[in-house]
């Protein structure tokens, strides 16, 4: 179990850029990917903004959008890792995907037909596109992956759960290489639900701001390719970061309200597995949804874990730019963390105007920060009180 696991490939499809280079440029420039929702008519809805990926052409019309987003980011990660796409079959490669809503858009089409014209109108051709287990199967089919194949629908922390499990599977010798990440297509159902919880901001996501008004529903996919350090060195791969460990916890408290004790527990487990003292963390990538409750609870957890050091620790939320990409969020944030470690730059929290004394953290306001970044934590929380925190470290040969 003492295998060291490294990230050697990054793939991302997002509202601010596709592919790690465009994504990173937009991220450190503080670009917003939020726009008026165009995938369905929002008249009659209380809010109208979200983080849709415009100009994304699904490569396979026989699959849903969430699968297509995942396939695109998976291919980007493989190519980025310097591996030929037709060369995976023999590599004992598997894939773990996290999601919140799965192929929600497919189900919404089925529901539209059902409501308008009854069960007769349901298109049988659409049915096999829906069940969320197809997400990882579709990626495996497109990339010819014969290894472990797994979908974790752990809502908005699912990406971190996926990366954590992939890390365990390689350490246990169940796969040589894993693609792991998350995907979600823009979901009308999620948009309705968060609106009904009064959790959606009218136009801007402002994590940690005193006047923050909520989250914004978004879509996208993030994927990392991971392998053992030994394998990466052997093939001369570019190593972004080493995965030191992760921590999971469940609040066992409330379905929708975040809770600082559970968040704290996941962070502490990640630190303990990584054998990293809390004050050695250089950057904390927050869940930071921009809802009053999340940011308050998350900052409280940060203060409890880091004590006085919490005043110095840079904590930012890229959801200020992307909105909340649901099951993809923590995977896209993991991509950002790997790039942060690689480039020694911390992406900012944009839309920040007024400090909230209840938060009391350094949220890297509005402008990216160049500084040495050796160790990062990527924290995520989800409905059901499911928390997951991932620890990454700069790899020095």
């Amino acid at each position: 179990m003492d295998k060291r696991i490294v990230i050697t490939g990054l793939g991302v499809v997002s509202s601010i850029g596709t592919g790690k280079d465009d994504f990173w440029k937009a991220l450190i420039a503080g670009t917003s990917g939020i726009s008026k929702i165009s995938s369905f008519d929002t008249s009659g809805y209380p809010t109208h903004y979200g983080g849709e990926v415009k100009n994304f052409e699904p490569g396979n019309k026989n699959m849903g959008r969430a699968s297509n987003l995942a396939i695109a980011s998976a291919k980007l990660a493989v190519v980025d890792a310097g591996i030929k796409l037709d060369n995976l079959e023999s590599q004992e490669t598997g894939v773990v995907i996290g999601t919140t809503m799965g192929e929600s858009q497919v189900l919404e089409k089925l529901n539209d037909a059902w409501v308008k014209n009854g069960t007769e109108a349901i298109d049988p051709q659409l049915i096999p596109l829906y069940p969320c287990n197809v997400l990882s199967l579709n990626v495996a089919q497109e990339l010819k992956l014969a290894g472990p194949n797994f979908v974790i629908p752990n809502a908005c922390a699912a990406g971190n759960y996926a990366i954590g499990y992939a890390y365990d599977l390689i350490r246990m010798g169940k796969a040589r290489m894993m693609l792991a990440g998350g995907t979600d297509a823009f979901s009308r159902i999620a948009f309705i639900g968060f609106n009904r919880l009064l959790a959606v901001a009218p136009e801007k996501c402002q994590p940690f701001d005193k006047n923050r008004k909520g989250m914004l529903v978004a879509e996208g996919s993030g994927m990392v390719l991971i392998e053992t350090l030994e394998a990466a060195l052997k093939r001369g791969a570019n190593i972004y970061a080493e995965i030191l460990g992760y921590g999971l916890s469940c609040d066992a408290h409330h379905m929708t309200a975040p809770f600082n004790e559970g968040i704290k527990e996941a962070i502490e487990k990640a630190l303990s597995e990584s054998k990293i003292p809390a004050d050695k963390v250089d950057y904390f990538s927050a869940h930071g949804t921009g809802t009053p409750a999340n940011d308050r609870q998350e900052c409280l957890a940060i203060k409890k874990v880091f004590g006085d050091y919490s005043k110095k620790l840079p904590v930012s939320s890229i959801k200020s730019m992307l909105g909340h990409t649901m099951g993809a969020a923590s995977a896209i944030e993991a991509v950002a963390c790997a790039l942060s470690v690689k480039n020694d730059i911390i992406p900012p929290t944009i839309n920040f105007q007024t400090a909230d004394p209840e938060c009391g953290i350094d949220c890297v306001p509005n402008v990216a920060r160049s500084m040495k970044v050796d160790v990062v934590l990527n924290s995520a929380s989800a409905f059901g009180g499911n928390n997951a925190c991932l620890a990454l470290k700069k790899f020095l040969p």
Binding site: D112, P124, A140, L169, I189, I192, L197, C250, G384
Partner: protein
């Protein structure tokens, strides 16, 4: 890696042939079927009219009457099974062990009815009139999360959606979490509820038939898994040891072979195979040939409980494990054996879960033989 020994010390079953492990085991042995005309919705427009619904399920009897109002059926099924499993294991979750206890649940359609009802209410009543209290039921991890909330399980909480193999994949996740010291105790299994949405999905895909095809069922099986030392220390009853797991995409022979490898068992050590067979002809033939190839000329006892409990999709594996435990206890093969294989003992059971396409998983559970 020194392999930790993981044992099963508790079982909770909610099925169409019985609530609780005794009723389930008894009716499995008697060969009583839970398949009846569907009552959840009007089947007049459909050619398939049968289902294995749980008609006598009264969650308030198991869970108490409080706090059930906004919970969907899947949540009530899995929470009930979890409660029975914890009681069976004589395990109390307290502040002392709560953070060392995790839960992994296999389900793919567990929240489907809730998701569709929520969306359809918005479409018919308008988005401003949907009941926000029902939104939490629309996430696929809500059944597992509600179990954590109800029973204070804080170590980890994960939902696995891998289609037909999800229960075994969830159990394997729990095994790995135990082996990697992430928790000391794990609840695992699966849940699916009977609903018109799942019925329509399978029906319109041409899978359902009352005579020559799949009949859908519902239910939940939950097992308590822990390290052998922990079980011995608290003098728990040990039902079985979990020896091996194997997974493959569309390759049941490979998943069986990998499970044997992990268990360190030769094929001839397997006494009985609890099959994934669900009357889908192409798929049954596929499993039969995979078994024939792996076990060569040996006639091995194979049976399926799906003629009794129906096809439970992602929850099937959880009831198959329950049936396997019952077979180890009673030394009688559950349900009707497909061939006339003679057996003298049941010590090692191989459980298969698979669908026509997608993930295949195999799990080996064995009679606990001590050190």
């Amino acid at each position: 890696m020194s392999k930790k020994r993981i044992v099963i010390t508790g079982l909770g079953v909610i099925s169409s042939i019985g609530i609780g492990k005794y009723a389930f085991a008894e009716n499995i042995l008697k060969g009583i079927s839970g398949i009846k005309p569907i009552s959840t919705f009007d089947t007049t427009p459909f050619k398939a009219k049968l289902g294995a619904e749980i008609s006598n399920f009264a969650p308030e009897v198991i869970l108490g009457p409080k706090g059930l109002r906004t919970l969907d059926r899947s949540i009530k099924l899995v929470a009930s099974a979890a409660k029975l499993a914890l009681a069976d294991a004589q395990l109390e979750i307290t502040e002392a062990n709560s953070r060392d206890t995790g839960i992994a649940i296999g389900t793919t359609f567990g929240s489907l009815a809730s998701i569709c009802d929520f969306d359809k209410e918005a479409l018919t009543e308008g988005v401003r009139f949907v009941n926000p209290a029902l939104f939490p039921n629309t996430v696929i991890n809500s059944p597992a999360s509600q179990v954590s909330i109800k029973f204070n399980i804080k170590g980890f909480n994960i939902t696995v959606s891998t289609g037909f193999s999800a229960s075994l994949d969830a159990i394997n996740y729990a095994l790995n979490a135990l082996r990697n010291n992430r928790v000391k105790i794990a609840l695992s299994g699966g849940v699916e509820e009977f609903c018109i949405q799942a019925f329509l999905g399978f029906y319109k895909s041409g899978c359902l038939s009352d005579s020559r095809g799949i009949v859908l069922g519902e239910g939940s099986g939950i097992i308590v898994l822990e390290e052998l030392d922990s079980a011995l220390a608290r003098k728990a009853k040990i039902y079985a040891e979990v020896l091996g797991f194997g997974f493959a995409v569309q390759d049941l022979k490979k998943s069986m072979r990998l499970s044997l490898e992990e268990a360190g068992l030769a094929p001839e050590k397997i006494d009985y195979i609890n099959s994934a067979a669900n009357s889908s002809e192409e798929f049954n033939a596929n499993e039969a040939s995979a078994i024939a190839e792996l076990f060569e000329k040996r006639v091995i006892a194979v049976s399926s409980i799906k003629p009794l409990v129906g096809e439970l999709f992602s929850a099937s594996g959880s009831l198959q494990v329950a049936a396997g435990i019952s077979a180890l206890e009673s030394q009688v093969i559950p349900a009707k054996v497909f061939n006339n294989a003679q057996i003298s003992k049941i010590e090692n059971i191989l459980i298969n879960t698979a669908g026509r396409t997608g993930s295949n998983s195999s799990l080996i559970i064995s009679k606990f033989k001590g050190y």
